[in-house]
């Protein structure tokens, strides 16, 4: 596809369940970012990948959150034992390289934890 895609677009889950969010970056983009946006709030940086490695995991809110990227392409963000405070829109962005910084954003996944 031409842009960053994310799936699912909406996810409703019960407290305590695990969820997996997927991001397909633009083909050829080596840098990939995950953000969390709570209702009416700004973007909270979660994690950044350069290729398959994550040099900055400082934004992950707890050890229930993890992310991986394989083949320098698709990334998954996993939230274990979800809590109601995890409810938010999770945005993924990719950029061509470290030296070209424009980030292209996906449409986001809206996660609701009941």
């Amino acid at each position: 596809g031409a842009g960053v895609s994310q799936s699912p677009s909406n996810k409703v889950t019960e407290k305590g369940k695990d969820v997996e969010l997927r991001c397909d970056p633009i083909s050829g983009h080596t840098a990939l970012y995950w953000y969390r946006q709570s209702l009416g709030q700004g973007l909270e940086f979660l994690i950044y990948f350069q290729g398959n490695s994550a040099p900055d995991k400082s934004g992950l809110p707890s050890d229930r959150f993890s992310a991986e990227r394989t083949g320098g392409s698709v990334s998954t963000l996993t939230i274990q034992r979800t809590q109601q405070e995890d409810s938010a829109v999770y945005l993924c962005a990719s950029s061509l390289s470290q030296d070209y910084n424009e980030q292209f954003f996906g449409p986001g996944t809206r996660l609701t934890v009941l």
């Binding site: 973007l43 950044y48 350069q50 900055d56 470290q98 910084n101 449409p107």
Partner: protein, 115 residues
């Protein structure tokens, strides 16, 4: 700590008028890039304009321009001839170039263009 401040949570402007959104940031790094992103109600985040910190000339993209004051660490966005489609949240952000990209976003300004 590296931070971005947008002191105007909400703003409104009449259609065809000009509006300026403020942004200040704090970093001790010298190599960084500044951005304004727009997020309309559709939720899709769109890049509005980009400025390299080492460039003194202010970036311009059609009706959008910035006033970059590096010494003051200020990066305001001016929207000329405001249009209804400009209604959105606007986020100021910067990327610090260290061994890896450190990204910081501001809290956003909600702009409403009034017909």
């Amino acid at each position: 700590a590296q931070t971005v401040t947008q002191s105007q949570p909400e703003m409104s402007v009449q259609e065809a008028e000009t509006v300026t959104l403020s942004c200040t940031y704090d970093t001790s790094e010298s190599n960084y890039y500044l951005f304004w992103y727009k997020q309309p109600p559709s939720r899709q985040m769109i890049l509005v304009i980009r400025q390299e910190a080492y460039k003194q000339q202010n970036a311009t993209e059609n009706r959008f321009s910035v006033n970059f004051q590096k010494a003051a660490k200020s990066f305001s966005l001016k929207i000329s001839d405001s249009q209804l489609g400009d209604t959105a949240m606007y986020f100021c952000a910067f990327i610090v170039k260290t061994s890896y990209d450190k990204v910081i976003f501001g809290p956003g300004t909600s702009l409403s263009v009034i017909p």
